[in-house]
């Protein structure tokens, strides 16, 4: 039984209340906010950041950090789109599997270095991000694949939507929620998923109890890479554009969303629900700033400020429970 007090102490509750409060305020300022069109657009804007946030969440729970996902996403997207054009492929299933596999391989490479040489994840993923981006731009090319050359199947897939009361809700939102559900099941209901928490708590103890910690590390980073690769191609299909320089600066937004959702940078803590709420909160703030015509540069100030305040609040709360 979850009592009300317990519910109130969960960080998910806090994020939810903040989201609700912001929505009420924006709704008062501009009632058009509550129109289905606007809300559906907002949800659509959650999809890519959200899938990437889930990828970072898994790594963060294991006690690591991943800043390579934007590069992996760009590589998976660009290579897949180029390959589709080269072979004139008409489906979407195979390309998405391909993009996911490219991300998976990159993620496993991260895991290899982190596990074999006991390297610090931040350094490894910074390095692999740089290498992957460099190789992509140097060997594959820098030209943007515009809408006129984008595979039509991909565009059609990205456009698919449901008509709900005259407003269009992108099917991609359901793809996102399905992935979130799968990640939740994986994290909470499989032994490997639980081993990621255990590993993030105390790697040594995890080994002592009998977890195969090598597999834990490979699964965590592999899954993170795979999700990034998938999100990369999905992004291209939603914006009808494949730019190899895409996703620069996504690290901050995504990691911010995960931290807002209550995950701990020190490992062991974090939840899918919290991450979904954190992503929604971040997108909501950014969108409202656009609606309020706040300059792009000032958006960075607001996002950065939100991160600092949110982490300060969680740190303050943790210290209070410790005392």
């Amino acid at each position: 039984m979850m009592t009300l007090a317990k519910l109130m102490r969960r960080s998910e509750t806090a994020v939810f209340l903040i989201v609700a409060a912001i929505m009420v305020v924006i709704g008062l300022i501009n009632p058009a906010f509550w129109q289905a069109d606007n809300l559906f657009n907002l949800l659509r804007a959650n999809v890519i950041i959200g899938i990437m946030a889930l990828s970072v969440l898994v790594v963060m729970i294991s006690g690591g950090i991943d800043v390579s996902f934007p590069a992996f996403a760009a590589a998976a997207m660009y290579l897949t789109v180029l390959a589709m054009n080269a072979y004139g492929h008409e489906g979407v299933m195979l390309p998405f599997i391909g993009a996911t596999l490219i991300g998976l391989i990159c993620g496993l490479a991260n895991a290899f270095f982190i596990h074999t040489f006991r390297m610090i994840p931040l350094i490894v993923t910074l390095g692999s991000a740089s290498v992957v981006r460099g190789l992509l731009l140097g060997l594959v090319g820098t030209s943007i694949v515009n809408i006129d050359r984008m595979p039509p199947a991909l565009i059609a897939f990205g456009r698919s939507s449901l008509d709900i009361g005259g407003a269009k809700l992108s099917v991609m939102v359901f793809v996102y929620l399905a992935i979130a559900g799968a990640v939740w099941l994986f994290l909470s209901r499989t032994l490997t998923g639980r081993s990621i928490f255990a590993y993030g708590d105390d790697a040594e103890s995890a080994k002592r109890v009998g977890f195969n910690t090598r597999r834990t590390v490979y699964v965590a980073y592999g899954l993170a890479g795979a999700l990034a690769g998938f999100a990369g191609l999905l992004h291209a299909s939603m914006i009808w554009l494949a730019n190899p320089r895409d996703f620069v600066g996504y690290e901050l937004d995504v990691i911010a969303a995960v931290v807002l959702g209550g995950a701990s940078i020190f490992g062991g803590r974090g939840s899918v629900l919290g991450t979904l709420l954190g992503v929604f909160l971040l997108v909501l703030i950014k969108n409202s700033l656009i609606i309020m015509r706040v300059d792009n540069t000032w958006q960075g100030v607001v996002v950065g400020g939100v991160i600092v305040v949110a982490t300060a609040l969680t740190a303050w709360r943790d210290r209070k429970t410790l005392a």
Binding site: L191, G193, D201, R208
Partner: protein, 498 residues
């Protein structure tokens, strides 16, 4: 004795350059509580690791149920029913109690999926066996240390356990929690399970065990039923010498201006209207249960509770004690309870740790001078009898007793007039402990240092203090004269306070 559960005959274990165990005969019978006593490095930990299969030994035989076993491994030990509870419990704070309990079973069965209902069922079973109630859905990280330990014990007893090894299980527990643990250990014994107990606290060994084995320098030096032992005999066996347990007497001028005069000191709800005097050369004990406000009192005197009320005078001069530098400047030194997190820089050298609080004494112009630093550190090492030949050695590589001496030595460099010690010998072995006590007494007598000693170790207070203040719920209840008092007098006093 019936056929022992596990027996070692003539077991020797060598490490490069030393014999960790030298021809040990050792046996533990079913339903027996055996205490291993010995200083750090005496071979207790090596013995535990041999019995749990972690170390292979060089000579001798290991028998299980009277049958010699070869190639004993951790897996074989677990199969033989040996379970070890390490000091850190090896639990996962993010997972629930139920998951922590069930995880081992699920893993050994090679499961892939985790069902919360099954975890809860396995967990409830494990807790029911110990007849304890802990919220199965609580995250282990939210539990108290004592409850975490119970979860660790419950987990260890989930398999067919026949021998439970507990490494210093009482270190982080309060008095009442220790009693609960002992009740649990006795219940475990009643089920025919043997318990091997490692502890530094002699009182506890005498209370809980059926038999005591004392190790020194890799040899078993004494063994016998607990009824044959006294604290003095254990100490003698552990250290090979009689440590003088002469009590500390203070011969000063009681009419003189006290070194520290505390009047009406309050810190929030934790310390309420506390007044006492501390004279030069006095060693005053501060006893009380955990949460009695003794640590807050010490922190207030060290300038870490700027919100306090009341007056504190040092040699007649009022102190505002609004910050640590101010307290240090005034001549107050504080050796914290947890030297790992509050005092030492583990990866730094002894020399750097020693000068950390007195950096201005090791400078030439605006720069730190290596020579001055080394000279200061070497003097402190000699002064505190820290066992090292090299002041550049990492502090983390020293034993607990030596680390504690580094901290005390560091504070002495600041030229303190009042020294506050919080648990000065927690986790320190007997020999080191006596050495630290000797040094503290010497400082009080020779240098006229006023010492305030907070400790859970009642004999430590009785032997080293000329007065003992008893604190409860933030107030000083009594000012005791240790002369004529025995340990049990204070223990029974503390018990009535609960």
């Amino acid at each position: 004795m019936a056929v022992p559960l596990i027996e070692l005959r003539g077991v020797t274990k060598r490490f490069p350059g030393m014999k960790a165990l030298d021809g040990i005969d050792f046996a533990i019978a079913p339903a027996e509580i055996l205490c291993l006593a010995g200083e750090n490095g005496s071979g207790k930990s090596t013995l535990i690791k041999i019995v749990s299969g972690v170390y292979a030994f060089d000579e001798g035989t290991l028998l299980i149920d009277g049958v010699p076993v070869s190639g004993f491994s951790p897996r074989a030990a677990i199969a033989a029913g040996v379970q070890v509870i390490y000091q850190d419990f090896s639990l996962f704070p993010s997972l629930t109690v139920a998951e922590n309990l069930a995880m081992g079973r699920l893993l050994s069965e090679g499961r892939r999926l985790v069902s919360p209902a099954e975890c809860r069922r396995l967990g409830a079973q494990a807790l029911a066996r110990l007849d304890v109630a802990i919220d199965l859905d609580a995250r282990v990280g939210d539990l108290s240390t004592a409850d975490r330990q119970i979860v660790a014990i419950a987990r260890a007893l989930m398999s067919e356990t026949r021998l439970l090894i507990m490494d210093e299980p009482t270190t982080a527990l309060t008095g009442r929690e220790v009693e609960r643990l002992f009740t649990l250990v006795r219940e475990i014994r009643a089920r025919g399970i043997a318990v091997l107990f490692v502890s530094h606290k002699m009182r506890e060994m005498l209370e809980i065990s059926d038999r005591i084995c004392v190790f020194r320098n890799g040899r078993k030096v004494e063994e016998g039923p607990t009824t044959d032992f006294t604290e003095a005999r254990i100490t003698r066996a552990m250290t090979g010498q009689d440590l003088g347990h002469e009590r500390y007497g203070w011969t000063g001028d009681a009419a003189a201006e006290p070194r520290l005069r505390v009047r009406g000191l309050s810190v929030g709800e934790a310390v309420r209207d506390v007044s006492f005097d501390l004279r030069a050369g006095e060693i005053v004990g501060l006893s009380g249960l955990l949460g009695s406000g003794r640590t807050e009192l010490a922190l207030a005197l060290f300038g870490m509770e700027p919100e306090h009320r009341g007056t504190v005078l040092l040699d007649g001069t009022p102190l505002s004690l609004a910050s640590v530098p101010e307290a240090v400047e005034a001549g107050i030194a504080y050796v914290p309870e947890d030297r790992l997190s509050e005092g030492l820089f583990m990866s730094q050298s002894i020399a750097r740790n020693v000068v950390a609080s007195a950096i201005e004494r090791a400078t030439r112009g605006p720069f730190l001078s290596d020579d001055a630093m080394t000279a200061l550190a070497e003097r402190t090492v000699a002064d505190m009898k820290i066992a090292t030949t090299d002041v550049e050695k990492e502090v983390g590589k020293l034993s607990g007793g030596n680390q504690q001496r580094v901290i005390i030595g560091r504070w002495l460099l600041t030229g303190p007039r009042v020294l506050i010690l919080n648990g000065p010998t927690v986790g320190v072995d007997v020999g080191s402990k006596a050495e630290i006590h000797r040094r503290i007494r010497e400082l009080a007598v020779k240098d006229g240092l006023a010492v305030l000693m907070i400790s859970d170790d009642v004999p430590e207070l009785l032997h080293n203090c000329n007065r003992i203040l008893l604190m409860h719920r933030g107030a000083i209840l009594d000012d005791l004269d240790p002369r004529g008092l025995e340990e049990d007098d204070i223990h029974s006093r503390l018990k009535t306070l609960r």
